[in-house]
């Protein structure tokens, strides 16, 4: 199930909230577990079994680790952690990467069957959330969870189940057993959720149509201006799609009494690539830092070893984004940039005017999105070539002008909404004005989003259209 759908907004959500609030406190997690599983199984009911297996596996491994630690059996605890990690990663590998490996091996002549399995929804997110639970219990960062309902509710928690933020068990442990609910928290959840919904439905989906045009364009019709326009549209689409989803997660969490960390912090205002990654998908970056980069020695090692560590982390970050080699290239692209910035570029940049730093960052990020978005290497080659001046369709064509003017207002809105400007202005409004404007803005956001969602199946059948 996805948040940006009519049945979620006008059926699932009201029922979940209503029953949640009339249920006594101690049964609320159980209710959440039930609706979480419905949410999860909506698209592919068979995978509920897989989900239950993951829950039981990590719950049980947590218990084993805790028991071993009580008995001072460090070796046993380590084995349990290793088993948990291996099994979780094996499941992730099997469902997500099997076909990529199989196709690649077939390409070099080794026969391995392609399985064409549907990807279990959110598997990359929830695997990362649960597999570190035994680690945290081992490290003493988290208390063992003895109640399987509470644990299962954590794993499947629907607001963040399928698209993050990636929440570590230790961050949510206390809230799983005890959390407060207040109108203040609910009302702030409503605001964050509505902003997220509007970002996703009104901005991302809309600007995404412009990217669709350029993604579908054959190489011989690509122009340089068009290629840049397309990739700019994709950057806005991806940001609003993903951050909108994270906002909705945070908002829904608050409506249910949870507090999640923020996942995006205006990434496009960054002045370096390193800063960009501190502002983009924060929970993923912090996960890799904590469970991969630092265990490998982080930056408290020799320079060559640190660069090696960075390469490993960014290769993993890249391929985490999807089972396709272009994501690996995309990750390594950032590895190179971040190593360069750490080595000397960062110090050089700091001395340059802010505008140059912004242009430098945006330029490199835009190029990275081309690598990210065009999965076919052949087409990626022509797309990048088009961006850098050797477009088969020339520098510019009239249709670029048409699409640019058609989308100009959306692009302007998108660019402004990528900066903290609106939030700053909002904070400056007198409380009295906020009180009047807020409900109007909220209702407008909900109404327009609903209109765009209803329109999604607007598909006139013109049988007489011959």
């Amino acid at each position: 199930m996805v948040f940006s759908s009519l049945y979620f907004l006008f059926l699932y959500l009201p029922i979940v909230l209503l029953v949640y609030y009339i249920t006594p406190l101690k049964w609320r997690n159980l209710w959440l577990l039930v609706v979480n599983l419905i949410f999860y199984g909506w698209g592919e009911p068979k995978y509920i079994v897989l989900m239950l297996f993951t829950i039981v596996l990590d719950y049980f491994m947590g218990l084993v680790v805790a028991r071993c630690k009580e008995q001072d059996n460090d070796k046993g605890a380590r084995i349990a952690v290793a088993v948990a990690l291996v099994l979780n990663l094996a499941i992730l590998f099997f469902f997500k990467y099997w076909d990529l490996v199989a196709r690649t091996l077939q390409y070099v002549g080794i026969g391995m069957p392609v399985l064409n399995l549907t990807l279990p929804i959110g598997i990359s997110f929830y695997t990362f959330q649960t597999m570190t639970y035994p680690v945290d219990v081992y490290r003493g960062d988290a208390q063992v969870q003895k109640n399987i309902v509470n644990f299962g509710t954590f794993v499947t928690l629907f607001p963040q189940l399928i698209a993050g933020p990636i929440i570590k068990y230790k961050e949510l442990a206390d809230q799983m057993t005890y959390r407060t609910h207040s109108p203040e928290q609910f009302a702030s959840g409503v605001q964050v959720f509505t902003v997220g919904l509007a970002k996703k439905v009104l901005l991302a989906n809309n600007i995404g149509k412009l990217w669709d045009v350029y993604l579908a364009l054959p190489a011989d019709q690509l122009t340089t201006a068009g290629a840049w326009l397309g990739v700019a549209a994709f950057s806005l689409q991806l940001y609003f799609d993903f951050s909108g989803y994270s906002d909705m997660a945070v908002g829904l969490g608050r409506m249910l009494g949870f507090e999640f960390l923020r996942n995006f912090n205006y990434p496009y205002i960054s002045k370096s690539v390193t800063e960009f990654w501190r502002r983009w998908h924060i929970s993923l970056g912090s996960w890799f830092r904590e469970y991969l980069y630092i265990p490998m020695g982080g930056n408290r090692v020799s320079k060559p070893r640190m660069f090696f560590n960075l390469f490993v982390v960014w290769a993993a970050t890249g391929i985490w984004h999807g089972a396709s080699w272009n994501f690996l290239v995309w990750g390594l692209y950032f590895a190179v940039l971040i190593i360069l910035e750490k080595a000397f570029l960062g110090r050089v940049l700091e001395k340059l005017p802010a505008a140059v730093q912004h242009i430098y960052t945006l330029f490199l990020v835009l190029v990275s999105w081309a690598i990210f978005a065009v999965e076919d290497f052949g087409h990626l080659g022509s797309y990048l070539a088009a961006m850098f001046g050797s477009a088969q369709g020339g520098l510019y064509s009239d249709s670029v002008g048409y699409y640019f003017t058609s989308f100009l207002p959306m692009l302007i809105i998108g660019c402004v909404a990528s900066t903290p400007l609106a939030a700053k202005l909002w904070a400056k409004l007198p409380v009295k004005a906020v009180k009047i404007v807020l409900p109007v803005v909220l209702l407008a956001g909900l109404l327009f989003s609903t209109a765009y969602l209803v329109d999604a199946t607007y598909n006139p059948f013109l049988y007489f259209r011959f």
Binding site: F10, V190, F407, D455, P460, F461, F466
Partner: protein
């Protein structure tokens, strides 16, 4: 924010989602959408099988969206918002000057085009009667100056040239020049993909030489307004609600003309259904263009009182429906075959019915996407 105000915001949100929950549950489901001209999704049947396969969920999603209260109003709100935001198209329809909606015409699949042209060629070689061939350029070509600036628009004239050159055995009729000459008149509907009766008249004059008649001057006829409330297919697919309706007019009187549609009943027995040149019952529904010959049919035969005139066969799309009235003074019988439905041998048909000449006439967008022209070679 005070606690009281937070309770207000909370209530507002819950009321919004709750209101539509209740309204959707209470409102009766609609079977059919006139606006979209299709059946709306109904509540899917719940079974263990449909649940496990995910079939139920998929249909349920479409169902909730199709049956959402006030669906048409939401869709209107969306397309108006798009316009305010500077969009110049919606759902493949351009918002054009002079209150006109025009369907996008993108570069067709070249292989498909030459395949279809070759079928026509084979047909010309197969039959021993004269064949006239032409394609009708549409709004995107003739009214290109109404399109938004720079809007992508594939060339229809290139396709016309290619068609003329590829089928040398047929007599080519140049509809393009005739329509282009009158492009400032109301030769197409502004909200429908068809040509108007006036446009069909100019098509008829362009066909005269090839088909061997002298066109009747337009002022011989009196124009009859049939409807001023016509919203066509392009209106439907665009989702826009701000354009004014089209007017449907006719010129040629239908006195003494009979139309018979040949079809099969559910048991597979051939049946003859009487139709008419103008079926005014369609004027009270949305699909008003079907007033011409009563809409789609596999095989229709129009008989005129002019028994001494030749018999014409038209292999065609729906543009021919409004052209036929103008042809009636020049032929004793006009046979209309729609290759989407008619799958029998055409050479047999021509022989058995004593057809004197044939016309292959399609609009450009239909011709280049049609996947039934293969049957023309039978």
């Amino acid at each position: 924010m005070s606690k009281k105000y937070c309770i207000f915001i909370t209530t507002l949100f819950c009321a919004f989602i709750g209101l539509f929950l209740v309204a959707n549950a209470a409102a009766p489901d609609r079977e059919f959408s006139e606006m979209e001209n299709r059946n709306l999704e109904q509540m899917p049947a719940l079974s263990a099988k449909s649940l496990l396969s995910g079939e139920f969920m998929k249909n349920f999603e479409t169902y909730t969206t199709d049956q959402f209260v006030g669906r048409d109003a939401w869709i209107g709100l969306k397309s108006s918002t798009e316009r305010v935001l500077g969009k110049q198209e919606n759902n493949n329809v351009y918002f054009c000057d002079e209150d006109t909606l025009i369907t996008r015409f993108d570069q067709p699949d070249a292989a498909k085009v030459s395949e279809n042209l070759n079928y026509v060629n084979t047909f010309v070689e197969n039959v021993d009667i004269p064949v006239t061939f032409s394609l009708i350029p549409t709004q995107a070509c003739i009214w290109a100056d109404r399109l938004p600036a720079g809007a992508p628009n594939a060339s229809q004239t290139d396709l016309l040239d290619q068609a003329k050159a590829t089928v040398p055995g047929a007599t080519w009729a140049d509809l393009y020049s005739s329509l282009w000459e009158h492009k400032d008149e109301d030769i197409f509907y502004r909200t429908d993909h068809h040509w108007t009766s006036l446009g069909a008249y100019y098509g008829y004059t362009a066909l005269a030489e090839a088909l061997g008649y002298t066109p009747v001057p337009l002022d011989t006829y009196t124009e009859t307004v049939r409807s001023t409330e016509f919203y066509g297919t392009v209106f439907s697919s665009s989702g826009v609600r701000w354009v004014s309706p089209d007017t449907i007019t006719t010129y040629v009187p239908d006195t003494g003309i009979t139309v018979t549609s040949y079809t099969y009943d559910s048991a597979g027995n051939p049946v003859e259904v009487p139709r008419s040149l103008y079926d005014t019952s369609f004027l009270s529904v949305k699909d008003k263009y079907s007033m011409f010959l009563g809409g789609n049919q596999s095989l229709g035969v129009v008989k005129t009182p002019n028994a001494d005139k030749p018999k014409l066969l038209i292999l065609r799309d729906s543009y021919a429906d409004s052209l036929v009235p103008f042809l009636t003074p020049h032929f004793s019988e006009i046979h209309l075959i729609d290759l989407r439905y008619y799958k029998l041998s055409l050479s047999d048909y021509i022989q058995q019915n004593g057809i004197d000449q044939a016309l292959v006439l399609y609009s450009v967008p239909n011709f280049v996407t049609d996947s039934n022209l293969f049957w023309i070679t039978r």
